[in-house]
Amino acid sequence: MKKIIAILFLLVLSYGIYLSINSIPFGVSKTKVGNYYNLNGVKDTGANNIVTAVVLNYRGFDTLGEVTVLFLAVLGFSTILFTMKKKKSDNMPTPPSLILSIGCKFLFPFVLLFGIYIFIHGHLSPGGGFQGGAVIASAFLLFYLVKPSEKSSKKSFQLIESLSGMAFIVIGILGLVFGNYFLSNFLPKGIAGKLISAGIIPLIYIFIGIKVGSELTGIIDRLMGKNNEKQVK
């Protein structure tokens, strides 16, 4: 019964979407705003990667919100799991195999480096702070796989998160001070294509990278069950 109702409703919904989608033809250039970004992005921001230019400069405020959302996720995550009963599990997790542990130890610095590379070059090539941060977090995931009992310092993670978040805002406020607009690109834009160019974009991306890295690591850390053991029924 429920299924039939659900399907009926969804059919109506799909029909509605079908009707409205007609006015959005597929694969045709149609937006004024997007064209503007493509045409003037490099000139305006000094970043080769237009998506980065949009994310951090034209719509930097969205990104601030986005960073906040991620911050929130970690916060909420740890709030919800905060009062969890800490149970000592009887059986220690099986130690990882030799291949895994050696391989991970070997890979860890490279992955970390790759993550850093990605967010530093966010304005030049595909990638950026979020992606880089995710890569960094995966490095820590490897690390945890090898040493499940390792206790990471949650305090320092939290500090890094909030400091880098604050740095983002402070850069924004500096923009307000020097350039009259919040988050305005007040630093010299340099020559597009060079590493040190595009004003505040790389700077912000570095902070975002650090922040996202530590946040995702925090989430992984929690989900790995460091201080909340698996429930035994």
Binding site: F9, L10, L13, Y15, G16, L19
Partner: protein
């Protein structure tokens, strides 16, 4: 300016008294009486003045106070009764809990009522009307227990009434772009008949709830019975008269006599319908009152009945009727407050107000007995009491108006009043003294003083009705009636003068006759109640208390008529809403899948409406 000061004292005083109560109880009591006396003097000083003050702008609507004869008359009654009630409370409320709150609310009700009658525009009228409603609500709840449901019924009905009133006020504003009562009254001619009927009906609901005209009376018996007794006196004595004040305002100030008499629905005159409702309010509640066993409930039902008289008086639209209605309002305030005070005094000493448990207190509490006797006489309308004058005027007006049907009902109801009046008197003060109450003491002085003052007033205005009739005459002239010629002893007119001296002389003659007849009769012998035996076995004394089921035969005949169907109807509605609520809240069934289905279903519904029905 003096009005502003008056109301600032009234409202500020209430809170001041509350704060004083935090320091000491004595200070609070004294302060409350001082404040009420100050208000009373200020009002007396305002006699005959016509003042208008703008005091505030709510949004951009100017609010104003205005005093004229009508409002002065009511203000005087309000503050006078409140003063007496406060004096009475000194003893009655001694030792009860939350007294600060009690005094605060009592003074707040007083202040709000004053503000109502002094309001010059409908908006401030409404605002203070509501203030009165909620402070009354809190005060009725004060006694806890049964009082809670009574208060709830009261507040719900008055919210309903006041919302109707709000609607009417806003309609008026939209029509005339003003809340000023005088402005409206001068421009009402321009409005259509339908508009006037609409206003009439809506406002009638609002005022009707407060004054407990019959279909809207359901709150009154409970509320009057359960409120603290000094406050019951105010409730019955003056608070329900606020509704009458509202009606006067509506009938004669806003609509005016001419329009009032012309209003009709399908040819039936509205004021006649209203008078008919008044007549029902007189008849049925008076009957119901006979069968109550709780003394305060008797009085409560009787209040509805007396309000009915007033309603008849003020609606028939003749000057003598209106004067009668107003005079009855005035007398009712006095004798009903007196009755409530007497019963409160009895309750204070004996701890009960169940009529079947009381009896024979005449000698134990003589002053209270005399007070009660006088007030019952007033209630019944025996000559030389103020009740007689007012009822006479109302009957007269009905007679002159050739409303014989209403006259008939009013007369029958007087019999009912005699029955329940006598019942109260007999059950409490006459008959056998119950064993428990042998050691009952006299009422304290603080209670006797208000009782004595009021008893005196009942007789004073019964013998010299002109004292009040002069003001009332001015009042009815003020609201657009012909003047009556009044002297100290009554009314001088060709159609049927009222002269207390003549009546007094006649009465004396009858009295003399009765005394002579009684002197000729046999002497009675007193037998002690304990001297009775039944088949040789001793029966406990309580069984001899012959006052229970006083009017049992009568009750058997008309009982089915007197069940409070209207009250039951309201209860039924409340229960319906409750069960509806229980059904409706099943929508939130707790299953999150269903909730998502609601969301998608809503989207689908909107799309269907758009595509299928081509809405929007």
């Amino acid at each position: 300016m003096i009005i502003n000061i008056l109301l600032i004292i009234a409202f500020g005083g209430a809170f001041l008294v509350y704060l004083a109560g935090k320091i000491s109880g004595k200070l609070r009591n004294i302060l409350s009486i001082i404040i009420s006396l100050v208000i009373l003097t200020l009002i007396v000083m305002l006699q005959g003045k016509e003042i208008e003050v703008n005091y505030f702008h709510f949004f951009n609507f100017p609010l104003m106070f205005r005093i004229n004869v009508l409002s002065w008359f009511f203000a005087l009654l309000i503050s006078f009764l409140t003063t007496l009630s406060l004096i009475f409370s000194l003893n009655y409320m001694k030792g009860k809990e939350n007294l600060d709150f009690y005094y605060l609310m009592l003074l707040l009700v007083n202040a709000s009522m004053l503000a109502i009658v002094l309001s010059g525009d409908l908006l401030s009228f409404y605002i203070f009307w509501e203030t009165m409603s909620w402070s009354t609500f809190l005060l009725i709840s004060y006694n806890k227990g049964k009082a809670i449901n009574a208060a709830l019924k009261y507040i719900i009905m008055s919210i309903a009434g006041s919302l109707a009133m709000l609607l009417a006020i806003i309609l008026i504003y939209i029509k005339f772009q003003s809340f000023d009562i005088l402005f409206i009254s001068t421009h009402i001619n321009m409005s259509s008949q339908n508009f006037a009927i609409l206003i009439f009906l809506l406002l009638s609901i609002g005022f009707g709830v407060k004054s407990a005209i019959v279909p809207l009376h359901a709150w009154l018996p409970d509320a009057h019975a359960e409120a603290p007794s000094p406050f019951s006196a105010i409730l019955s004595g003056i608070l329900i008269k606020m509704g009458i004040y509202g009606f006067l305002l509506l009938f004669y100030v806003i609509l005016g006599l001419k329009i009032l008499l012309s209003l009709n629905i399908w040819g039936i005159k509205l004021n006649y319908i209203f008078a008919l409702l008044g007549a029902i309010s007189v008849l049925v509640p008076s009957m119901i009152a006979i069968f109550q066993t709780d003394a305060k409930r008797v009085l409560a039902w009787s209040s509805i009945g007396q309000i009915g008289y007033i309603a008849i008086g003020i609606t028939i639209g003749s000057s003598i009727g209106t004067a009668g209605g107003l005079f009855h309002l005035f007398s009712h305030t006095i004798f009903k407050a007196l009755l409530f005070f007497s019963i409160a005094a009895v309750e204070y000493r004996t701890g009960t107000r169940d009529l079947n448990k009381l009896g024979g207190l005449m000698k134990k509490m003589p002053i209270v007995f005399i007070g009660c006797l006088i007030s019952v006489l007033g209630l019944i309308g025996i000559p030389l009491t103020n009740g007689f004058v007012s009822k006479w005027l109302i009957y007269k007006a009905l007679f002159l108006n050739q409303n014989y049907f209403l006259l008939f009902i009013a007369l029958i109801s007087t019999w009912a009043a005699i029955l329940y009046g006598f019942k109260i008197l007999h059950h409490i003060f006459l008959g056998q003294l119950s064993q428990e109450h042998i050691k009952v003491k006299k009422a304290p002085l603080g209670m006797q003083i208000p009782i004595m003052i009021l008893s005196f007033l009942v007789l004073l205005f019964g013998i010299f009705p002109g004292l009040a009739l002069k003001t009332i005459n001015k009042l009815i002239v003020n609201i657009g009636f012909k003047s009556l010629s009044v002297n100290l002893f009554g009314i001088v007119s060709e159609t049927g003068p009222l002269n207390i001296i003549n009546i007094f002389a006649g009465l004396m003659a009858i009295l003399l006759l009765i005394i002579i007849v009684f002197k000729l009769g046999k002497k009675k012998t007193n037998i002690k109640q304990d001297d009775n035996y039944a088949a040789g076995s001793y029966i406990p004394i309580d069984k001899y208390h012959f006052t229970s089921n006083f009017y049992a035969p009568l009750f058997g005949i008309i009982k089915p008529l007197l069940i409070d169907h209207i009250d039951n109807f309201y209860l039924w509605v409340a229960n319906r809403i409750r069960s509806l609520s229980d059904k409706v809240r099943k929508i939130y069934c707790g299953n999150v899948n269903v909730y998502v289905i609601y969301i998608i279903g809503f989207a689908a519904l909107l799309i269907i409406l758009k595509i299928g029905l081509k809405l929007w």
